[in-house]
Structures are given as structure tokens and as C-alpha cells.
Symmetry: C3
Subunit: 470 residues, 3 copies
């Protein structure tokens, strides 16, 4: 067995002066607490604090990065244990799933998934051999043994990972029972919800009416008009804030904003109630609601996040058979300058608003996002997201935004993950790449080492904490 | 005379650890056979195996990369011997054309054309001095002397270049006489056609009716209905396959796909027959036919290639005077996510389909293409194409696709050239850049050297062979 | 006090072979005269040759790069002394403004503004300490002392900066009084106007009618018809040429061109005269006028520049309160291939036209602009502009255009600045980055050092001089 520890200098430019600076900067940030202001960890994990069941359901099945790549190489999702909507027969043996994954681990070479996995196996689980078809069984057994130990319970890991704050993502109608349980339990870990009302805004989606009803139940008041709808949202925001929320999040296809007249808003809402809303209606409705959300944020202080540009469930077959979040979402070109103008003209100069913008369209970094952040006081740039939180992706983000917006209008790192045990790996990679970016600036004599130290700390910790008011 | 051999390390990053790794990886791939699965070499060359006439008509006149740059600097195409449609007087002295080219060779500094030319002159023709106005005559004489020798006949070069398979590009109505001649000749070189039915799909183009008639003649059956049209295409695909074809290719302005009802397809076809099809009609017709092609590929196994995004014959003056392929095509922004959704939903999950996607719009690499390839089993990413098969262009392709799709969903290198003698130079440059890309990953400790070796071989040889079933 | 001179090697890649080549190339260009063919320096400065008033109004208040970043961090423009349209109370103490700026100087770390500022303070004003809240007062006093000296008068600085030619930007109706004064003064500095008729083209803008009247007054003839309008423009071009102009410039939202029939042009013009033109009308009118301008350029030889893609005054609040050019302009995605086709088909092959294209949308570099410049004789690529004249931005420009268009279809550097004292800093940074780009090619053995020297000189001096006929 060959010890295949991830190299201490991974991710750093090999040129000695860059590497030296990058190393020194990384040394200052690697041990900082983790601020995770946006992600998809199931709060149930930390509420119940039960042991993770097995390596496959811990690492493989919930990770759409892994599923999508395996599926793209012709491996059926059923054989990876992904449940179908119609309860077809799927693989249930976690060891077989793990073996299948391990045999294809080479597909993740040079991808962030591969880098995170290596880090996670080594640093979280102490695995010292490389995962492949041959080692799969041994690695499986090692992880299984670890998972049984108390120091691998979710809360123990949370503490060991040095997580200072972890935000989950939750529907507007969510009762936040797990968050309440965590609070009631007396455990000191800071786990907070994020208000994500997408389902309540998607008036053309089949599930909208059910979500509206859930919202009404959650708020304890019927919702029959647009005004009642907005009041319900306002009330839910208050509830989320009581449980620690500091932010909202909005996933939209386009970041379109445009005010509707009260009459038009009401008309759209009534049309939706009778099931008659089209995709175009939804776009207008969402465009109005983003404005409402910005307005409410100026009042209640919740940081507003927009995550646009993913065409969800592009693959109908995968969606119909397996449901959402199985790797079948594909980005589209995204326009911010015109789309956000109404919102920014209304609230972008208001010191009470913080608006964090994310994108899947890297061509907007230098063209639209950095100029917007470099002008409007409210705007901050979210971390490179989803397909782009990779080594090259993070470098591109810094290279394309820093010269126009500086680093102090960016919002720190966002791991955005469902995969709890990958959190340290993701933050570590981000800290490495930011150190490497700054190290390159030092080596090119663009900034000095003292400045770089302050900037590294800001990127790794301060900016996320400030931006998200944590 | 100063010996100006291209440097042995050209294209490699100067940082010693990257260069060392890149060199080692390149050593493993430089001698591998050439798989050329997509290009525009005239099969006539290899069927007749006659000597190339002279340096100008070998190197200058057929190369639209060279013509476009010289033209862009005000050199009339007539003075380069490019025939006009109306038989105007053009330069006929190849030595004069060569001289003109040589005097402007400095314009190609830092371009791939310059790099290919240096390689070709040195490695194919053994020229040891740099081409410029002063050396032009001597270089001309040296090449001319070589061309007379039997080892410079096309087939001898084919073998010396180590070409394992070479695909040409051919109209649907092409009788493939040259391919038949090659087969009949007993020569063992593998030269195969590619089914490219663009002319038969372009119902708004003036030449469509003539192509349809040629298709009917080739198939030996009249084509009076849409169904007969599709059957004729199916029959021609069979014929191409008999002569070794493994792939189809489709050049469209947009990769738009959308099924037509049988009635609508028939109506469009009848409208085209009477000469009444518009550009919008053609778009819909092509959108339907791409679906037909994908369907047929699932049956006959031909790999489907889409090359979208070139606005052909942008310069009407150049087109009217000199015809197509003279450097006057300009790319446009291209959308894949929505346009390909119907095709991918119908066939993208089908293990029998291989769909290779090319682009001229680099902003789609990370935004659309890598995510599509990283999800749909059918999709492979074609090599950086045309304006982008350059050093920086190939690096950008790898940097923007690998982290999402890995390298194993890419299709290997495609030289895409008419210029037969430049084939080794183009593959060599590609192998260098891929070695350099992987060498950079090794030096940054993202992958190990053993992995890198396997990956280098895959990029240089295996992936093209597998993807195109060669 | 720590001496914080900008490092001699700033901007150069740290890899020793690149740095060595970059240094050597930069040594050849750093002392070349400055050609500034496009900028916004107020000619009044050089006509009057009065001392600059104080550090704040010299460096802070006129620089929208500085204003936008400070504003983006919540610093009111009023507190920086920016006058409001309604004469609200603003900060009038230049020392207080300077202090505020200095306290936030860290925001400009790793931005071009920061790099220019360091260079300007050191090289122009001899400041030896770093600007921050602590040093602000001392630096203020030092600059103030310098400004009183005769060698800091604008003309003395012009000469010390080594400016060979400086073009300003002027309305079509401008009487060019300051330019006349400069000529009359006998001073030998070459300061020339640029014909920028935007305001006369924007028929949907509130100020259009006033500009038309000014144009008529300037031309000494009434303008009642479209033909009279074009004749007035033609006459003004003549006037500008008499005062040394060699170029026109056109800021449009889109580079849309499409000929109007004479009747349609007249109808639009008459509609505008009665105040009834819409944004769509203006687009068509501008599309026609760009064609008129290209036509006139083929006759009078003025180089034509197009600067598209900025959505001006995105922030209505900032515009309404402070007027234009305060940092509230945001780029949009820009299309060149289709939009410019009519113009290029009409005049792009004409050897008498030079058309310099700029962009704020970097995705067009390799997709559209380099292919256009690599085909049409008339087209040259303007320098990376505005948000993109930064270290990384300039590298991206070279990396994305050189391989398709070569360097000899680019137009040299354009500082595009209002901030007179930053001119040397901007040209210096550009020369450094071009040297670094070429040094990288040398180190990768793509070009030789002799070629690189010629190319460095071309980029720093020759190309601007040739392109702009200076």
C-alpha cells in the first residue's frame, strides 16, 4: 500500500516565489474557523446527531457532482442506489455502490470532486491509500469503522471541523423543526436557517398551490390575495429571523426585476390561484417578488442572495425518474445589467440592503458583476458557484473581478454543499486558491506581503462574516 | 544562414517543474499514430497520389488561415492566385505568390499558423532557414526539389506522418469515387468519408434544389416527399458506412433542435421544393433534421458531430468574387442549453448515441458544454475548433472543461484541415499543449505523474479512437 | 517612514526566464514617446496652462474609477466634493476630501487605479511614503508644494511626460476654442481634437434638440432636413481636421448598423425634430449614421472608432443627483458579427477606411473581434478599454486576440483618461504588460527575442501612430 496523502502544496503555483508567498498566506488562514453562510446540509443531521449510516450513503448518493459524472459515463443511477419516484428496484447494497464508485474514481482526476474526496478521505477519515477498484473494500471497512465512533457523530465533526456558523437552506413554509430541536438541545453549534421562498414564487410550477397552502398553514392565516401573500412572506421572514436566519436566497432562471402595479400583481396572483399561470407570468411574478424581497430586506436586515442561471431539470427523463438535484441542471447565459436595474435603482443605494449576486455565467464576472459591485453600495459578489468552485474556476473569479471591484466587495467563500463531510475540504481548497492568487500578486509586486496577509484573512473569514452578519 | 529550428521545448511553460513534467509526457505521446477523425483533405490527393504541384499551391492558396491574414493586411486575394468566380486575371506564377507570402510571414508571429508553418517547413521539408522575403526563393527551390521525390508523394507522406486513420468530409450526394478508388487501389492507408448533409438541409439556399437532385440521383430514387427525403439520407448513410464512414457532421448556424409534426415537415419540404423556403423555415427544417440524424445514429451507430456558430460568408464581396472558404466566416454567440434540449431529451440518455459538440464561442465551455458533457451519456466535447486550436485556445479549453467534465468526456484532437502537410504539425502542437496542461497539474500536485501519463495518452490517441469508433 | 517605491519589476511574471525577457523588452519601450490617440483630458488645461488647484481636485474628484469604488463602499459622493446638479451642500475642503480618500486607499489594492496612483505619486510627485490615513496630510502638503512650481504646470508636465500627441474628445458642435488657443499660443505640444458626434445622434435624448441647434450655429447654416444634418456633420469634420483631428469616435449602446432609405432617414429626422423619437428610432438612426460616418471617413480619411456596450447612467439616482460620468455606467453583452455586417460589407474592404473597434465584453475578443480584424482590411482592434485596461485585462486581450489576428491588427494603447497626471502611469503599465506577454512567448519559445523587440516597440508606439495617422 502506497501512502497517497494529498500533497501539502497542492493547488499552489510551482514557481518558487509564488509558492513561498502562497504557503505563508495559507498558513495564516488554514486554521481559521469556518463560516458557511450558504449550503444545503440537512439540519436533521445535527438535530438528531445519529451516526452516518455507511460510506455510500454518506459520500456517493447525496452528491450530485458524483452522480452526474458517473451517469455521464453510462452508469445507471439505479446502480448507485438513487431512489426512483416510482420505487423501481435500485441497488441497496452500500458496499456494491461504493465498489462501483471506487472503480470509476479516476474519472474525477483533475476535478474539484476528486480534490475534495482525497482531502475528505485523508483528513476526515484518515484513509491512507488511494481509492480505486482494488482498495474499495478496505476503504469501505475503514470508513465504516470510523463512523461508529462517537467522534464521528455529526456534532462532533461540526466541532472538529471548526465550524463557527452553518446556514442551511429552507422553504418559506418550513416549520424549521430541526432548527428548533438544535436550539432546544442546548448544543452550542450555530446552525441557522436561510429563507428560500422559491417554491412559493413559482406560480407556473405544479407544486405551487401545495406550497401556498403550506405557507398559509405555517403562518396560521389564509392567503387569498397578493397582499396577504406578501404579508405571509413577511411573517415567515420574521420567524426565520427568530431562529437565527440572517439571509434569504432566491433561485431564479433570470435575475429579472420589474415592478408590477398592485392591480397587475393581484391579477397574476388570482390567475395562479386558479391554476392558469404561464412561465411568462411566473417570470413577471418573480420579477415583482424580488423587488418585494429587497424592500423587506431594507426593513428586516436579512441579506439577500440571488442564484440565477440554472435551467433546472434539463434532462426530463432523469427528473421524471429520479426527481430534482440529480445532476441534470444546466446553466444558461445570464444578463444582470438590465435585469437588475429596477431593483438596484430602487434599493441598490440603500445602506440597509446587502445583495449578494452569484452566477453560473463566467462571462458576466468582468462585464457586469464586478462593475455593478464596484458601483452600488448594496452589491457584493458571491463566491464562484457550483461548476465554478474549482481551482481554475476560483482563479478566474479573482482574476476577473478583483481589478474592477477589489476584494472587499466580495462575500467570502460559500461551500454550497449537501455533503457535510466535504465542508472542510471545500474551504481548504478555497483558502489555498485565494492564497495562491494573492501569492501571485505578491510575486508580481502588485501588493506587498503585509497587505496580502490582511487580504487572505478577509477572503477566508472576515468577508463572509461581515457580509452575512454572522 | 542561421539555423532556425523550432525549439524542442516550444509551447511548454518555462517553470522548470512544469516543463520537466510536460516534456516527459510529450515524449510518451509524440510518436503515437495520428488519428484524424475530422478534416477536409481532398481524397483525390490520396486516390491519385500525384506529386504536389508547387509550394504556393501546396501551402498558401488552399489555407484560409493564411489567406485571411494576408487579405486583412490589404493584400489582394488575386495576387495570391485565388481564382475568382468570373475568371478574372489572377496571379499565376507560384514563385511570385510564394514571395509575397514570405515577405509577410512575420504577420503570423505568435499565431498557430506560424507555429504550424515552422514545423511543416522544418519537419516535413527539411528547410533550415527562416522564411522571409530574402530566403523566399531558396526555400521555394528546396521545397520544389523535395516535391519531385517519390517520398513526397501523398501516400508516402501519409505513411511517414504515421496517420492511422484519416476522415474526409463529404456531401450527402457525393459518389465517393475517390474513396472507392483508394479502396480499389489496394493501398492500405485508412481514408474514410464523413457524411455531411448540410447542403441537403439548407432549404433556403440557392443551391438546395441542385443538391436534392444530386441526392436523388445518388440514391437512384426520386425524392418528392419529406419521407422520401429522409429515406434517401438513410440510404446514403448506409453507403457512406460501406466505405468506412463512422461519423456524420452537421454545420449549422445555431444548434437549434425542435421536432416538427409530420404534417409540418411535409409542408416545409413542399414549400422548399417550389423555392419558397425562408431562412426561418430552414432553421426549423434543420432543427427537425438534427433530430432525424440523432435517431438514425442510434440505429446505424454513426457518431454525430455538430459544428455550430459560424456566420458563413460574412463578407459578401469576398464570397461573390471568390466563393466560400476564403476566410470570410465570422463566429457568433451560440446557445446550447436550450437549443439542444429536445435532442438530448430524446436521445441524450441513449447509450447508442455519441454526440460530439464543437463551438466557436468559448464562453460556452464552462457554462454549457462541460455541464452537458458532465451529465448526458451521449455527449462528448469536440476539440477546440478553428480559431481556437491554438496554444492559448487549447489551454483555455482544458482549463474550462476539465474541472466539470473531466478529460474522459472529451473527444481527442481534431485537426480539421484542408492542408495535408500541416497535419503532423497540428497534432504535434496539440500533444504539446495537452502535455503542458497536464504537466501544470502535476506541478501543482493536482494529479500524479502516473495518472498524467495515462491521461496524456488518452488525449493524444485513445479518446479520438474510442469516440469515433476507429 | 518606510520608502514604498513601486517595485521595478512590478507586473512581470516571477518565473526567471519570463521576467528576464520582459525586463529586456520593457527597457526598450519604457522611454518611447507617448502617443495618446484617445482620451478625455480637458484641452482647457493645456490652453490656459494654469497650476492645478489642489491634490483632491487633481486626483480624486475627476476620476470616476476612484469615485465609483469609494461610493460602492458607502462613502457619499457629496463628501468627496462631487457637485450635485441642484447645488446641494458638498464637501469643499480639499484636505478633508483627500483625507477621506487616503483612509480608503487600501480598497484599491490589486486594482489598476491603485497601480496608477502609486506610480503617479512616486514618479510625478516624488512622494516616498505610502498613502493612508496617517500619511494623508503630509502627502497632501508635498503635492501642494509641487503644484506651485512651474515644472508642474500642465504644459511642463506634458513635455516631461514625453507626450508626442494627445487627442481629446469633443462634441460635433464644439467650437474647439481651447484647441485654437493652444495653436495660437505658439506652444509646440501636439494636442488635437476628436470628432465625437454622439449627442447629435441621440434623437431620443432630452438634450438632442439643443445639440442640433448648437451644431447649426457652429456650422452657420440651418439644419431642417436629414441631408442638411449630414452636410453639417461633414462640415464639422472638415473643421475638426483643420485643427488637427485624425479620428472620430462613436459611443453607442450596440454597434448596430443598417442602411435606411433616404425617405426613412428623413422621416426619422423630422420625427425627432418634433420631439417624437423613441429609443428604437434612435437605434435605427444611429445605425444609419454609423454608415454615413464610415462613408465620410473613406473620403476625408478620419479614423473611425466605435466604443459600444456601456449602459450609461445605470444608476438613476446618481445620474439625477450628480450627472453623468460618476461611475454609474455598466456594460452589457455586445454583438459585433451581425451588427457590423452592413457597415463592413459596404466599407470594410475599402483601403481608405480604418475602423477601430473597442469592447467592454471580453467574450467577444476571440469570438468576434479577432476574427473580424483577421479578415477585414479596415478593422483594427482597440486596446482593452475602461474596466479592462488592467494587468489581467490586458493579458486577456493579448491572449485572446493575438493567435487569430496577430499583433499587427491591433491599434496600440489608449489611455482613455480624464486624469492628466495618470497618463504616464497608464502607458507604463501597458508597456509592462505587453513586455510581459511577449516575454512569456519568448520563454515558451513561440517567438524569438529579436522578433519580440520589434513587436514590443510596435505595441508601445508604432501601431498607435500608424493606426491613428499621427
Amino acid at each position: 500500500m502506497k501512502d497517497t496523502a494529498p500533497h501539502e502544496d497542492r493547488g499552489f503555483d510551482p514557481e518558487p516565489s509564488v509558492r513561498r508567498a502562497a504557503r505563508a498566506l495559507y498558513e495564516e488562514t488554514r486554521g481559521l474557523p469556518i463560516i458557511s453562510p450558504h449550503g444545503h446540509v440537512d439540519p436533521h443531521l445535527l438535530a438528531d446527531n445519529e451516526p452516518f449510516p455507511d460510506p455510500a450513503s454518506l459520500i456517493v448518493t447525496p452528491d450530485h457532482y458524483i452522480l452526474r459524472m458517473l451517469y455521464a459515463h453510462g452508469i445507471p443511477l439505479e446502480s448507485l442506489g438513487v431512489a426512483t419516484r416510482e420505487d423501481a428496484v435500485v441497488e441497496t447494497d452500500p458496499r456494491a455502490i461504493w465498489q462501483r464508485f471506487a472503480e470509476h474514481a479516476f474519472l474525477f482526476l483533475a476535478t474539484p470532486t476528486g480534490a475534495w474526496l482525497d482531502h475528505e478521505l485523508r483528513e476526515v477519515f484518515g484513509i491512507r491509500e488511494r481509492l480505486d477498484g482494488d482498495s474499495a473494500g478496505r476503504v469501505y471497512d475503514e470508513i465504516t469503522a470510523r463512523l461508529a465512533a462517537p467522534e464521528f457523530l455529526p456534532r462532533a465533526l461540526f466541532e472538529r471541523f471548526g465550524i463557527e456558523a452553518l446556514a442551511t437552506t429552507d422553504r418559506a413554509s418550513d416549520a424549521l423543526e430541526h432548527h428548533r430541536d438544535i436550539r432546544r438541545s442546548g448544543w452550542k453549534g450555530r446552525v441557522i436557517p436561510t429563507f428560500r421562498p422559491d417554491a412559493a414564487f413559482q406560480i407556473a410550477a405544479p407544486g405551487w398551490r401545495a406550497e401556498l397552502d403550506a405557507l398559509a398553514r405555517a403562518g396560521g392565516a389564509p392567503i387569498g390575495t397578493y397582499d396577504e401573500f406578501v404579508r405571509a412572506l413577511e411573517q415567515r421572514r420574521r420567524y426565520f429571523r427568530e431562529l437565527g436566519a440572517t439571509a434569504t436566497d432566491h433561485g431564479v432562471l433570470e435575475p429579472f426585476t420589474e415592478p408590477l402595479s398592485p392591480a397587475d400583481a393581484e391579477r397574476l396572483f388570482q390567475q395562479a390561484l386558479v391554476g392558469g399561470a404561464t412561465a411568462a407570468d411566473q417570470r413577471r411574478f418573480e420579477g415583482q417578488l424580488l423587488l418585494e424581497m429587497a424592500r423587506l430586506s431594507t426593513a428586516d436586515g436579512l441579506v439577500m442572495q440571488i442564484h440565477p442561471g440554472a435551467l433546472r431539470n434539463h434532462s426530463r427523463m432523469v427528473f421524471d425518474r429520479f426527481g430534482p438535484d440529480r445532476g441534470g441542471d444546466i446553466p444558461i447565459a445570464t444578463e444582470f445589467t438590465r435585469n437588475l436595474r429596477p431593483l438596484l435603482n430602487a434599493y441598490g443605494n440603500d445602506p440597509r440592503l446587502t445583495l449578494v449576486l452569484f452566477t453560473l455565467d463566467e462571462s458576466t464576472y468582468s462585464r457586469e458583476l464586478a462593475p455593478l459591485a464596484g458601483h452600488y453600495p448594496a452589491v457584493r459578489l458571491g463566491a464562484p458557484w457550483w461548476f465554478h468552485d474549482s481551482m481554475q474556476g476560483m482563479m478566474r473569479f479573482r482574476e476577473r473581478t478583483t481589478e474592477t471591484a477589489g476584494i472587499y466587495k466580495t462575500a467570502g467563500f460559500t461551500d454550497d454543499t449537501r455533503a457535510f463531510c466535504s465542508i472542510p475540504a471545500r474551504h481548504d481548497l478555497s483558502r489555498r486558491i485565494d492564497a495562491n492568487f494573492l501569492g501571485g500578486l505578491v510575486a508580481r509586486h502588485v501588493i506587498g506581503m503585509d497587505d496580502a496577509r490582511r487580504m487572505a484573512r478577509a477572503l477566508a473569514y472576515d468577508l463572509a462574516k461581515q457580509t452575512y452578519k454572522l
